[in-house]
């Protein structure tokens, strides 16, 4: 069976896996972004708290994903839960780091000016600091998404959702005629998803980065 015949005959399964892969990565990325920005906002003012947040998330990122999933299984069991927890944890670091760098990079004169025209602390954060820090945060999200794509594939080993299942089916039938097709379809599916997400982020960047700070 050629690769395209294989894709044709299994397109329902492949589409389901692709959709689940994309949705798992997307949802975890949303959680990671919210958590990451909150963490950054809470810590960027203090030198040591910021360093601590960056260091903790960096340590998490150093842990190999298979080991992280292995440690999560006794706690949360098999299936979707370890996938979601692992993906969210790994997605945090680039967002937290870039958000802290971005927030610290905001010109203090601008914040002072905002204060001067009577903006509250919250208004300053949401209307001045976060919009100015948004480009690096978006970069962090992009970087994190690309990484999560690959980690989600590994999470399929703990019965997680997504295209990793296709790859592991191929490993299970190593040597059979369809092994290559299965692994190839899973891998290429992830590559395509990663590129689509990347394109979407470029678009989001164009739409959401304030006109005034565009390069």
């Amino acid at each position: 069976m050629s690769f395209w015949e294989y894709v044709g005959s299994r397109h329902a399964q492949l589409l389901t896996d692709t959709f689940q892969h994309a949705s798992a990565v997307f949802q975890c990325m949303v959680i990671a972004t919210v958590l990451g920005v909150v963490l950054a906002v809470a810590t960027y003012r203090s030198e040591w708290a910021g360093a601590l947040a960056t260091m903790t998330t960096a340590t998490i990122l150093t842990i190999p994903s298979l080991a992280m999933i292995g440690l999560l299984i006794p706690v949360v069991g098999l299936g979707v839960a370890p996938t979601v927890v692992a993906l969210t944890l790994y997605g945090l670091l680039p967002v937290v780091r870039n958000a802290i760098v971005g927030l610290r990079g905001v010109d203090p004169a601008l914040v002072d000016a905002a204060k001067g025209i009577g903006m509250s602390r919250t208004a300053r954060l949401f209307r001045v600091e976060l919009p100015l820090a948004w480009p690096p945060i978006l970069t962090g999200i992009r970087v994190a998404t690309q990484m999560l794509m690959g980690i989600a594939a590994i999470a399929a080993f703990a019965s997680g959702p997504g295209l990793g299942n296709e790859i592991f089916r191929g490993i299970a039938s190593l040597g059979s005629a369809n092994a290559l097709n299965q692994v190839l379809s899973g891998t290429l599916g992830i590559v395509v998803l990663a590129l689509l997400f990347d394109a979407a982020y470029v678009l989001i960047g164009r739409l959401t980065i304030p006109r005034g700070i565009r390069a």
Binding site: L71, R104, P136, A215
Partner: protein, 298 residues
């Protein structure tokens, strides 16, 4: 995809123990590119300089090993007390744990050597004038390569080259070369052109400029590349088990497949400890081997 690349591992404000974000720092959107470049430029030269310069605080020296020792001791005590049935015994008996650990270290070491031997000379070559036009192509290729999942790449290589440690090592090298190459390129291109021009101006040959000016200035960057490669490879080596390549992934996958939690936890804790230890050693080496001349923050 824009060919813009930040030196993934080098721009970094506070945290000294940086992630293996070679694959991370790769692609930038057009809009954020300049902002990010500025950030990178602002932080890169002084990135790993703590306020105290090279003086590493004693906490930095002892915190991580102490934590690892405590975690390993706790795991060992717990593992000794855990009740193992015959299936769990089969997974850990006859020195299988040591074998897995040794295989893991070997896989990591061998693939890291290959990554450095390939990526750094390639990075130097791509920044030479006669090849400079190929750099955007290489960058675009490197960015595209980041989208390929490590697991898929490894398994495809196993299908192609056969089961065993060899295909695992090839896969790990292919996977880690791109981020290290991207870092090397970004760093060499980040060298102040006035310095190389001054070197040319006092009559140095292109080889002299490379060996006496550019390479010494790029040492921190090359060390960062070593660390990125090491950390990435420790992680990817866990996947070698899916291609019959051995390593600590064997314990983890055996634990998951047979549902024996002691085996799973032992494998995972050892992997985590090894990864953190390697990262710690590499970041220490990065600080100690940095040329003294580059320490003075301007």
């Amino acid at each position: 995809m824009t060919p813009g690349v930040t030196p993934g591992a080098s721009p970094d404000g506070g945290g000294r123990r940086r992630p293996p974000d070679g694959p991370a720092g790769a692609a930038l959107p057009d809009d954020a590119e300049t902002a990010e470049r500025e950030l990178a430029a602002g932080t890169a030269p002084t990135a790993s300089l703590a306020p105290g310069g090279r003086r590493i605080s004693w906490q930095k020296w002892t915190c991580m090993p102490a934590f690892l020792a405590a975690a390993l001791l706790a795991t060992w005590l717990w593992f000794r007390g855990a009740r193992l049935d015959s299936i769990a015994h089969q997974a850990v008996d006859h020195g299988k744990v040591w074998l897995a650990l040794r295989q893991h270290v070997q896989l990591t070491a061998i693939s890291t050597v290959f990554v450095l031997v390939i990526a750094i000379p390639l990075g130097i070559a791509l920044t030479r004038p006669w090849l400079r036009r190929a750099t955007p192509v290489a960058m675009a290729f490197a960015n595209l390569g980041q989208a390929v999942p490590a697991l898929g790449l490894l398994v495809l290589l196993v299908i192609w080259l056969g089961i065993g440690a060899r295909s695992a090592i090839v896969g790990m090298v292919v996977y880690a070369v791109l981020p290290v190459l991207a870092n090397t390129l970004a760093g060499l291109r980040g060298i102040d052109p006035t310095l190389t021009e001054a070197a040319r101006g006092i009559g140095m040959s292109p080889m002299g400029v490379l060996s006496k000016v550019e390479l010494p200035l790029a040492v921190p960057l090359i060390l960062a590349g070593v660390r990125t490669a090491l950390v990435l490879n420790v992680g990817t080596a866990t996947l070698a088990t899916f291609g019959g390549g051995g390593g600590l992934g064997d314990l983890i996958s055996a634990g998951i497949i047979t549902q024996r939690m002691p085996v799973l936890i032992l494998g995972s804790v050892l992997t985590v400890a090894l990864a953190l230890l390697v990262e710690w050693l590499a970041s220490l080496a990065e600080l100690l081997l940095r040329p003294r001349g580059l320490e003075v923050a301007t």
